[in-house]
């Protein structure tokens, strides 16, 4: 009985979390775009922006404008992931580039 109640509480806790993750709103899409944009700014400052990142961001903005918040959020998350990969690459290269240099 105790276990059952505990389970109910858990389900009750999980439902809103799952719902908010699944249903994109204008606000959640906009915040995903803002997060991606911040990461892209960092990538650009490290002289390593990928073309695919910019394309994903363009998709996100277009979807936002068309009111497709789920697509906007998905594209923005993708843009951020790509930007993070390029930032990681640029950071690593700060130490690794010397391996490519000819002396």
């Amino acid at each position: 009985m105790k276990g059952f109640r505990c389970g109910l509480v858990l389900v009750g806790l999980l439902v809103p979390v799952a719902a908010s993750a699944a249903v994109a709103s204008k606000a959640s899409a906009a915040s995903a775009i803002a997060a991606a944009q911040a990461e892209m700014k960092l990538a650009a400052s490290m002289q390593d922006q990928w073309i695919a990142t910019v394309a994903a961001m363009k998709d996100a903005r277009l979807a936002l404008k068309q009111g497709d918040f789920a697509a906007a959020e998905t594209a923005a998350v993708h843009a951020k992931a790509l930007a993070s990969l390029s930032v990681e690459q640029a950071k690593a290269q700060r130490a690794l580039w010397v391996n490519e240099a000819v002396h």
């Binding site: 650009a44 002289q47 390593d48 922006q49 990928w50 073309i51 695919a52 990142t53 910019v54 790509l82 390029s86 690459q89 640029a90 290269q93 700060r94 690794l96 580039w97 010397v98 490519e100 240099a101 000819v102 002396h103």
Partner: protein, 278 residues
């Protein structure tokens, strides 16, 4: 014992750290040119200005056909006309350059102590325009490329002579260009060196990859795939895109520094511009 180790380690690390932080362009130049001369013993130093033609007979044959009627001849002629045309204030380009702009292309990119920045020839042409009340031109193609083609033609055969003065800002610019050249970037994770050093002389699809040595000496150049004459910056943009990276702005510090490093590595090689490529 531990202390001794630390002291030893720091003694050992100190000169290393210094060597890493203190750029030495002259030593780099020797190492760079030496690397290619050793790797391709059949290619004499001056021949590197011909880029891919040292490594592909079919491209060389194509080239010989192309230069029978040099496709850049129009650009040189148009460039001379533009160069000699007076600005609204009555002055000409000649007033902006040493020796009236004739036979000086081999000294660019030049470090400008006043602004602390590197000035490639294209940027110098635009500066001259702005100083005389004219608008800037595109740094990649068109009129500016034509003017550059003409000015470069008056330096044909002169040894490249780029100077990195003993100014910490010049050394920093040189070092930044070097780091840009050797750093991997883009979704494909290539550096300029991946293709133009490691894979030099090999085929990327139909293209023979020109070695990094001599890479800047024929610019501006006519490319059949472009259909007109383009500047070095235009090529930078193209090669950035090849690795799926966003290009830098044409007049960015990154590209200026990159051109500075790459052209310095060609010091002593003859200017062979404007050039032509398939």
């Amino acid at each position: 014992m531990k202390l001794a180790l630390i002291v030893l380690a720091s003694l050992w690390a100190a000169p290393l750290a210094q060597a890493a932080s203190q750029p030495d362009p002259a030593a780099d130049l020797q190492g760079f040119q030496g690397y290619f001369l050793k790797r391709f013993p059949k290619v004499p130093l001056a021949a590197y200005v011909n880029g891919p033609y040292n490594f592909s007979k079919s491209e060389r044959d194509q080239w010989k056909q192309i230069i029978e009627f040099p496709p850049y001849a129009f650009a040189v002629a148009d460039g001379k006309t533009l160069f000699d045309t007076k600005f609204a204030n009555g002055k000409t380009y000649a007033s902006c350059f040493p020796n009236g702009g004739i036979g000086i292309a081999q000294t660019y990119p030049m470090f400008d102590a006043k602004t602390g920045r590197v000035v490639p020839l294209g940027v110098a042409i635009n500066r001259c325009r702005v100083a005389n009340g004219a608008a800037k031109l595109s740094l990649t193609t068109g009129k500016l490329a034509d003017i550059e083609a003409y000015m470069t033609s008056t330096s044909d055969g002169k040894p490249i002579d780029v100077v990195v003065p003993h100014d910490p800002r010049a050394l920093a610019a040189y070092q930044a260009g070097k780091e840009y050249f050797y750093s991997r970037r883009g979704q494909l994770n290539f550096s300029c060196a991946s293709c133009h050093v490691q894979a030099a002389g090999m085929h990327l699809r139909g293209d023979v990859l020109a070695p990094a040595l001599g890479l800047t000496a024929s610019f501006p150049l006519y490319r059949s795939s472009w259909g007109d004459v383009g500047t070095l910056v235009r090529r930078f943009i193209g090669c950035n895109k090849k690795v799926k990276a966003e290009p830098e702005a044409a007049d960015s510090t990154a590209y200026r520094d990159l051109a500075y490093f790459m052209t310095y590595m060609n010091n002593g090689l003859p200017i062979a511009g404007p050039g032509a490529r398939p």
